[in-house]
């Protein structure tokens, strides 16, 4: 590196940012303005993953003394490092939320090492002891909400055939498909979920084709795990099928067809993080939770959801919220090839790291991971 080219201005900026960061870290309340940076991989009004985070950021904007800066469509490359540096050096950000999975390693780790006094919070990463202490990863067990969606879907479906438009067969997606199916089979033991993988996170034409093919097969309730569920929701509603949403509440798009949905609840979590910092507490580096911890939530029931379905779903939701919790993936679980994937007697609770390596589809799912 050419040191001659680092100007005094850069040093001053960096120094100022560091002091500000240190000051914000120990200060009990936000007496001066604190800047928080949010980085999204896509557009923040996509009715999906990014919008969920943007809603969390919007909740922070309401807190006095906080300034929120945002940048959209930042690719998961060196570009995110540049964005982080400019947020720190030019805007004086002291808390950063790079929200996309691929930002974590090496990009965010590198920045956290470079700016040890600032705080970095990443969504979806797996923080380990080797990573910097000022970095953290948080994520939600959204499969709990998918399980509730599954119960409602199982009650609502007349054909017993459910559809799932999925992007890629990675553990988080498979976990959602499996939880949705297990929930549906709680309501209707004969229910099946037909899954279609489109191959990528945002493929509107493929998603629309997948939706139509599923409905042609007699599927009458659909859900999805893609970045923007808008295409699936609108196309399914046009064909007269019911839908369960994902990421955020899509009911404004199809009020009659929308049953419920699995939503992120970042607008509850982010203010919690900020309060922890203001109170001088440290945020746990590895932060996980589900419905009980208010990291995920379910959409309000649509008008087509029967009283029976509401009651069943609310009962199970109550179990998730109870002190002893509830395990979706119980012992004696068989995959759709007939192999026992969880031995009888060993329930896998939500925090079980084995679940983060899921590579199977449970009995009742029609589809394959490869």
């Amino acid at each position: 590196m050419d040191f001659g080219r680092i100007s005094r201005r850069h040093l001053l900026q960096g120094g100022a940012a560091l002091t500000l960061g240190a000051a914000a870290g120990i200060r009990p309340a936000f007496s001066a303005e604190t800047t928080i940076g949010f980085i999204y991989v896509g557009s923040r009004d996509d009715y999906g993953y990014n919008q969920a985070h943007a809603q969390g950021a919007a909740a922070l904007k309401k807190i006095p003394g906080l300034k929120v800066i945002e940048e959209e469509k930042v690719p998961e490359t060196d570009a995110v490092e540049k964005t982080i540096e400019s947020m720190i050096n030019l805007d004086g950000a002291t808390l950063l939320f790079p929200t996309s999975f691929g930002y974590y390693n090496p990009h965010m780790i590198k920045m956290a090492t470079k700016f040890p006094k600032l705080r970095f919070e990443h969504c979806g990463g797996l923080w380990t002891d080797k990573d910097p202490k000022n970095a953290g990863s948080y994520f939600g067990y959204i499969d709990e909400a998918q399980y509730i969606s599954g119960i409602v879907a199982g009650h609502t479906s007349k054909s017993g055939k459910l559809g799932f438009v999925a992007a890629k067969p990675i553990p988080q997606v498979l976990r959602n498909i499996n939880a949705f199916t297990l929930g549906a089979r709680l309501a209707n033991p004969k229910a099946t979920t037909q899954v279609i993988f489109t191959g990528d996170w945002s493929m509107p034409v493929k998603e629309a084709e997948a939706t139509n093919s599923l409905i042609d097969q007699g599927v009458d309730v659909l859900t999805c795990h893609v970045d923007g569920p808008k295409t699936m929701v609108e196309n399914a509603a046009r064909r007269g099928a019911f839908v369960c949403g994902y990421h955020t509440n899509q009911s404004p798009l199809a009020p009659k067809a929308y049953l419920t949905g699995a939503e992120w609840n970042w607008e509850a979590l982010y203010p919690k993080f900020v309060k922890m910092i203001a109170a001088g507490e440290s945020i746990p580096n590895f932060y996980r939770g589900g419905l009980k911890e208010e990291i995920v939530k379910t959409s309000p029931y649509g008008e087509s959801v029967s009283a029976e379905a509401r009651k069943h779903a609310d009962d199970v939701k109550g179990k998730f919220l109870s002190a002893e919790g509830y395990a979706i993936f119980k012992g004696g679980l068989v995959d759709n090839k007939g192999k026992t994937v969880i031995a009888a007697g060993t329930d896998r609770g939500q925090k079980d790291p084995e679940l983060e390596k899921m590579d199977y589809l449970v009995e009742g799912v029609i589809g394959a991971t490869s």
Binding site: D45, D46, F197, P204, V205, A210, N212, D216, Q217, D220
Partner: protein, 308 residues
């Protein structure tokens, strides 16, 4: 069947439905590019035009409440982008391929920028004509819900085929594409012919974009095109600059795009990545079968920078 499913029949039906639903943008972009390339110029920027068309159609439809005004706006936007391409290319020593790539990036970038506030709202969509009224199977009816734009596109292919062969305009475009010297000797301005051909090409590509945002998938978002514009440009070469072949190629591409999801829905789940790649495999296969080291591409306009 009692449970409302039609079993394996889903696959041919989905391919037919896909050929109708998915092919329209391919059809419009490839017909437009066909006109442009027959005049001796390549406009690779049609991907950008397609996305700009989709965005402006959605925006105008949302603001005015009339999807048809949206279609018109998409066409005009496309024609303006075409004029920009032709204008830059008429300067001396400008490479049309490079300008096309620049305009592709410009068009998509501008559309994403201007389209920001349009992702959330829902705009009025184009109506569909129900050609499946004779059937009481809902799947057949759904597959045969056809949009007028598709019919216009299908009608346009033979009209263009005829126009290239028998009209004065067709002759002028072909002359400019085959030998600019001959066109000039006839007393015509080659640049003017190419400007018009590129504008018409852009107009059609813009309309293709309006189909994406106003009919199928039917909303504006940034992943909407996912490369369909550039695929359609390649399709023209694959169709040997023949409008009728463009039509068949577009239908084949639309049907092939529906194959992956349809096979998965009936339970053929292994190798879905391969089936999703079906359109591209199809292109490669036909390219390999029809190419020959002994001659240049048949039907290629001689003035085209890739064949010259």
């Amino acid at each position: 069947m009692a449970d409302g499913s039609i079993g394996l029949w889903t696959v041919p039906l989905a391919v037919l439905g896909g050929a109708i639903r998915v092919s329209t943008p391919f059809l419009f972009v490839s017909l437009g590019e066909c006109i442009t390339e027959r005049s001796g110029r390549i406009n690779l920027g049609l991907e950008g035009t397609l996305v700009m068309g989709a965005m402006s159609a959605y925006g105008i439809s949302y603001l005015t409440g009339s999807p048809w005004l949206g279609v018109l706006a998409a066409g005009i936007t496309g024609a303006l982008l075409g004029a920009l391409h032709a204008g830059i290319c008429s300067l001396p020593r400008v490479n049309d391929v490079a300008v096309g790539i620049a305009l592709m990036l410009f068009g998509t970038g501008l559309a994403f920028y201007l389209g920001k506030p349009l992702i959330e709202p829902t705009a009025p969509r184009l109506p569909a004509i129900d050609f499946g009224w004779w059937s009481d199977i809902p799947q057949v009816r759904a597959a045969l819900r056809v949009n007028v734009l598709f019919l216009i596109g299908v009608a346009l292919a033979p009209i263009l085929y005829w126009a290239f062969r028998t009209t004065r305009w067709g002759l002028l475009i072909r002359t400019a594409g085959e030998s600019s010297d001959a066109a000039r000797a006839m007393g015509n301005s080659v640049l003017l012919i190419r400007l018009r051909a590129t504008m018409v090409g852009g107009f059609l590509a813009g309309i293709g974009g309006s189909f994406l945002s106003l009919f199928y998938p039917g909303s504006w978002n940034e992943g909407l095109s996912s490369g369909q514009g550039i695929t359609a440009v390649a399709l023209v070469i694959f169709a040997r600059w023949d409008p009728m072949l463009c039509l068949w190629a577009s239908l084949a591409f639309g049907g092939a795009a529906a194959l992956g999801p349809a096979l998965q829905s009936v339970g053929v789940t292994s190798g879905y990545h391969l089936f999703n790649a079906a359109p591209y495999i199809l292109t490669l296969a036909i390219m390999i079968i029809t190419c020959s080291p002994k001659r240049t591409l048949t039907g290629a306009p001689a003035e085209l920078s890739i064949t010259r």
